[in-house]
């Protein structure tokens, strides 16, 4: 028999809830293993707790931005699919693009919330979004052991160069993302907004660094990145408003 299709059907919520429960189980599995191993290595519990605290605090704001992505997509796709896609593997930037491309391919758009998706359109979008992001799942298990072994060998051969190489890898990543922020400066003052926000974040981070070093405020260390991120996001509101007012 045919079940009546609905983007928010209890059936889909149930499957998504099961998969998400598995993801939480996997997280705890790795957490507990690593925690036990850390004890074996003799790492201080206080140190581990501080890792837990700073990771949890840092995560809150980016997680809320992911939630906003879920809400944005849910208007067209219902809640279960965006919930699953953004809790498992998905990244905000990919999923919005993937959903947009898939919706276009079946002759609709994410912005068109007036017309309901048919079951067939929905399954098409779900398959495209799922297959689109499988690269990491397939490739990671195949190559990570070799990759880490290679890095390890290199570090054993020349320890200092190994450290510099890792540091250069980090610099490569951050440079590409910092460079991207300048991608719209050619479009005029509006294109500079991301640059201003980045500079605001940098200044706040530098202030935090000074507070940590000069005033020995140890607690700032835990919060430096969240503070600079949230501070710059808050400043993004007056910055954007000022730029828009200046142009108009």
């Amino acid at each position: 028999m045919n079940h009546e299709f609905n983007v928010n059907s209890p059936f889909m919520f149930t499957i998504v809830a099961i998969i998400i429960a598995m993801v939480i189980a996997q997280s705890f599995f790795f957490l507990i293993r690593a925690w036990k191993q850390a004890k074996k290595l003799g790492i201080d519990t206080a140190k581990l707790k501080s890792v837990v605290k700073s990771s949890a605090i840092f995560t809150i704001v980016p997680a809320i931005s992911i939630l906003i992505g879920v809400i944005a997509l849910s208007k067209k796709l219902g809640l279960p699919l965006p919930w699953l896609r953004l809790s498992v593997i998905g990244a905000l930037t990919y999923e919005t693009a993937a959903a947009g491309a898939a919706a276009n391919a079946v002759g609709t758009s994410i912005g068109d919330t007036a017309t309901l998706l048919t079951a067939s359109q929905f399954t098409t979008i779900a398959w495209v979004m799922t297959l689109g992001i499988m690269a990491g799942v397939i490739i990671t298990p195949i190559i990570s052991r070799k990759l880490l072994g290679g890095v390890d060998k290199l570090e054993k051969r020349d320890k200092r160069w190994g450290e510099i190489l890792m540091s250069a890898l980090f610099m490569g990543m951050i440079s590409a993302f910092l460079g991207m922020i300048f991608g719209k400066v050619g479009t005029g003052l509006v294109g500079w907004i991301p640059v201003f926000v980045m500079l605001a974040s940098m200044v706040i981070m530098l202030v935090c660094a000074v507070l940590i070093k000069k005033l020995k405020l140890k607690w700032v260390e835990d919060y430096a990145l969240p503070i600079s991120m949230i501070g710059a996001m808050a400043l993004a509101i007056p910055i954007s408003n000022a730029v828009n007012a200046y142009i108009a």
């Binding site: 889909m12 998969i19 998400i20 993801v23 939480i24 997280s27 705890f28 599995f29 790795f30 690593a34 850390a38 790492i43 581990l48 995560t59 980016p62 997680a63 906003i68 699953l84 998905g90 990244a91 905000l92 990919y94 898939a102 391919a105 067939s120 399954t123 098409t124 799922t130 499988m134 690269a135 799942v137 990671t140 990570s144 880490l148 890095v151 570090e155 510099i164 250069a168 890898l169 610099m171 951050i174 440079s175 590409a176 993302f177 460079g179 922020i181 300048f182 991608g183 400066v185 050619g186 907004i193 980045m198 605001a200 974040s201 940098m202 981070m205 991120m229 710059a232 996001m233 993004a236």
Partner: protein, 222 residues
């Protein structure tokens, strides 16, 4: 049990693969189950068109992410992080912060466990926040969707990478100059490349590594 004799790292790879491929199958089960339950099948034309529009780019970026992020996150962090996702905007900065905080280096036994703990905590917190958000979606939507807050969330990546950039660049300013200068020049001169910026991570990394190698050989990096 056989696995009892495995070292921690061997065990991580063993369990990591099982979890990862298991989760991969489970993920494919979602669209498959919907097709069967509703007896509704994808439109072949739309499916191919949609997949062609995103898959080539996503798969290239995905592969680059694996190569770049696995050495940073460590084995355990990677097997978990590549399942829970949101690496660039969340898991990777979170791990870098955690490693810096305890002074652990990626690739060391200490870095491995700290990376795994950071990714696990971040994954659990993210998943819980999204669950709460889904449960409270009706009262939350007007707040999170408000036009006043929109500019703030639109700028989350610059706000994140500014601070993170200072933290990372401060560690090794000499290595940072060449890749940052080249990437800024690249994206200012060819803005059309910016949306696919992640593809340039390996380019910037190669520039950074080449320049660092040169400086190291010259004895500028002690």
């Amino acid at each position: 049990m056989k696995t009892r004799n495995l070292s921690y790292d061997d065990g991580t790879h063993f369990w990591g693969r099982i979890w990862m491929w298991g989760m991969g199958v489970l993920l494919l089960a979602f669209p498959a189950a919907i097709c069967l339950y509703y007896n509704a099948w994808p439109e072949a034309g739309g499916f191919l068109k949609g997949l062609l529009a995103i898959a080539p780019m996503f798969w290239v970026v995905g592969t680059i992410e694996v190569i770049t992020y696995v050495p940073m996150l460590g084995a355990g962090g990677s097997y978990l992080g590549f399942i829970t996702g949101n690496l660039t905007n969340l898991k990777v900065p979170c791990t870098i912060t955690a490693l810096n905080k305890v002074g652990a280096k990626p690739g060391t036994p200490e870095g491995e466990v700290v990376g795994t703990i950071a990714v696990a905590i971040s994954s659990i917190v993210t998943t819980l926040i999204i669950i709460i958000g889904v449960l409270l979606i009706a009262p939350l939507t007007p707040i999170l969707d408000s036009p006043t807050l929109k500019p703030a969330f639109d700028q989350i990546l610059p706000a994140l990478f500014g601070g993170l950039g200072v933290a990372l660049i401060g560690q090794n300013l000499k290595v940072a100059i060449a890749p940052i200068a080249s990437m800024v020049i690249l994206f200012v001169c060819v803005p059309s490349l910016a949306p696919s910026g992640a593809i340039f991570v390996p380019v910037a990394a190669i520039i950074a590594i080449a320049v660092a190698r040169l400086m190291y050989k010259k004895g500028w990096l002690k």
